[in-house]
């Protein structure tokens, strides 16, 4: 028995490893490898599907023409692209100051306060709260009182999703700034606000920008909250943010589930466009933060 074992075993492993232990070890290695391969295959299949179907639906008209009516040929998604740009811009413009200031409060003023602990905890929860609930909130807050779906409501819903992301990264990045820098600033006679704006924020700027880019990537593909707030608008984009505004995610949702091949093609093209944008943003965010870490 022992002899057989020794023969089967690689010499470096020694001869005292019982077969049971060896099998358990092999099984772990194999199953971990299988898990990773399965993950990679699924990812590959999703990306492949996006690229193949998306390129099939791609045409220059995408960027120049509005969404076509049901069952008709041609058309593009220009109004949805523009609408998405406007909505995410509103979202990030509203969210960035609030998020950065709140993160500053948590990292600079609220290190020891109970209130800051509570806010930090609730912010973490808001970070993973179901986005559809945020849609219901903004619907009650804005859409119902104002009487119609509106671009403003969509922007606010996206801002609410972006804020916790920015708060979290801003706080984490400010905490990485060494306390000696703040002390040096204070020793020169600068009041706390001056120390924060011209010392700590500057030292952490790359990290804060990363947080904002990540938040942008997060809200760019959000669909559920827009269903109840900005909804859609099949005509050419109007500057009227008081009415419904076409946007890529809702357009993709409605067109992909429609029975018209033309609409489905446009949905795939939109899906490729939006995923490509989000992946690019995520990669940029990683590149921005890199030089700071190595410093």
């Amino acid at each position: 028995m022992d002899a057989v074992n020794t023969l089967a075993m690689s010499p470096s492993r020694g001869s005292r490893v019982r077969p049971g232990r060896r099998i358990a070890d092999r099984m772990l290695r194999v199953s971990c490898l299988v898990a990773t391969v399965v993950g990679a295959v699924v990812l590959g299949s999703i990306l492949l599907m996006l690229i193949v179907e998306g390129i099939r639906g791609f045409s220059p008209a995408l960027f120049t023409q509005p969404t076509p009516g049901p069952g008709s040929e041609g058309g593009g998604i220009a109004n949805a692209i523009l609408g998405s740009l406007v909505l995410t811009t509103i979202g990030i413009v509203v969210a960035a100051p609030i998020g950065v200031m709140a993160g500053t409060f948590l990292a600079e003023y609220g290190r020891t306060s109970k209130l800051a602990d509570v806010i930090r905890f609730l912010n973490d929860i808001l970070l993973s709260a179901p986005s559809i609930l945020i849609g219901l909130f903004v619907y009650t807050l804005m859409v119902r009182p104002m009487g119609s779906y509106s671009g403003w409501a969509g922007g606010v819903a996206l801002a609410i999703i972006a804020v916790p992301v920015i708060v979290r990264t801003t706080e984490d990045m400010l905490r990485l700034v060494p306390g000696t820098l703040r002390e040096a600033g204070a020793a020169l006679g600068a009041p706390p606000s001056k120390v924060i704006t011209s010392v700590t924020w500057k030292a952490a700027s790359a990290g804060i920008v990363t947080g904002i880019i990540l938040a942008l990537a997060r809200i760019a593909g959000e669909t559920a909250p827009l269903l109840f707030t900005a909804l859609n608008n099949n005509s050419w984009f109007s500057a009227n943010l008081m009415g419904g505004v076409a946007n890529l995610p809702v357009m993709i949702y409605q067109f992909a589930l429609s029975p018209y091949p033309n609409w489905q093609g446009l949905a795939w093209a939109g899906a490729l466009l939006i995923t490509g944008t989000i992946l690019a943003l995520s990669i940029v965010a990683r590149l921005v933060i890199k030089p700071q870490r190595s410093r």
């Binding site: 200031m101 808001l126 559809i132 009041p191």
Partner: protein, 324 residues
């Protein structure tokens, strides 16, 4: 010497005068940051307040029966949450059942087994997977996964289990279309894998290398190191990560809406179409009014309660470790 004293004396009032506005600015800045932090608090309170306010008429109308009734009839205005709640819990449970082993496998592979050169690209790919919008997963599930699943799994399996005692109900697909609770579970599993895997990987990476080396040094196999050293060390935070994934699975809307089938039917089979809370809200909200709208808001309340309990537990578990 007197000149110096004089100049200090002269400078004194000027400094005092400059201090005034700057201190005012300082206070404004502090209050701004304070106010911004309070907004986070207000938003959370607002979310809870708005859905309780919106759902209250439904709770008053149906009372506790709202939770136990499986009715959802727009014509007779009878609404109950049972099907949607069960669908939500069942799909999230299936997602954990499939997703947790895979994500732990990936985390262990990345930290223990993977050759160094491949570690970074694989880890980055998985993190990017977490950034893909959920609607894309829904499209993949509906157009790629569901047809394949119906053809190669549901139809053969239904033929095998037909007539069997328990399996014949649980695994039998009346209409093998590929959509249903199980497919929703699979898609949710794919969505939470990158999430759980990247947190678990961070946790495993934080364990001091000395612990691992000493275990290998006394002759442990990789399995034994994982089982007796790494898992006990990281268990609490990994459970926290799993709970975070669960919170995400419970509230996920778009991907599930694509593949769950959106039927209000109480069925024992995991292959039958059903609904989750989020998918029902997404589907019906825009056309709803009156009591139906209230019932959907009430569903939102239930979702709020379930996910927030899960998320609070998750954050407490992950925080305890960070503090230790």
């Amino acid at each position: 010497m007197p000149a110096v004293t004089q100049s200090i004396a002269l400078a004194e009032p000027r400094r005092a005068a400059r201090k005034g506005p700057s201190r005012g600015l300082d206070t404004v800045f502090r209050l701004c940051s304070y106010g911004a932090a309070l907004i986070v608090l207000l938003v959370l309170a607002g979310i809870l307040g708005s859905i309780v306010y919106g759902g209250w008429p439904a709770f008053r109308e149906f009372g506790f029966g709202f939770l136990t009734s499986s009715a959802w009839n727009i014509g007779t205005e009878q609404y109950g949450a049972l099907v949607a709640v069960l669908g939500t819990v069942a799909s999230a449970f299936l997602a954990l059942l499939i997703g947790v082993p895979v994500s732990l496998g990936i985390a262990i592979f990345l930290t223990q087994l993977c050759p160094g050169w491949a570690r970074k690209p694989v880890a980055m790919t998985i993190e990017l997977l977490a950034a893909v919008p959920s609607i894309i997963y829904g499209m993949w599930g509906l157009f790629i996964f569901a047809p394949l699943f119906a053809r190669f799994v549901q139809i053969p399996l239904s033929n095998v289990v037909e007539g069997m005692p328990i399996l014949g109900t649980v695994l039998y697909a009346r209409v093998p279309s590929g959509v249903g609770v199980f497919t929703a579970g699979v898609i949710l599993a794919i969505m939470i894998v990158p999430f759980i895997a990247s947190i678990a990987r961070d946790m495993l990476d934080q364990i001091p290398t000395v612990l691992r080396e000493s275990a290998y040094g006394i002759g442990c196999t990789t399995w034994e190191v994982v089982r007796h050293v790494l898992v006990p060390q990281a268990a609490v935070s990994i459970i926290g990560a799993i709970m975070l994934g669960l919170g995400r699975a419970l509230g996920e809307t778009m991907a599930v809406t694509f593949v769950v089938g959106n039927a209000n039917r109480l069925s024992a089979s995991i292959f039958d179409p059903s609904s989750t809370i989020a998918s029902r809200i997404a589907n019906e909200f825009n056309e709803a009014d009156g009591l139906q709208l209230n019932a959907l808001m009430a569903l939102g309340c239930i979702l709020f309660v379930i996910t927030f309990i899960v998320l609070i537990i998750a954050r407490l578990l992950t925080r305890r470790v960070r503090a230790a």
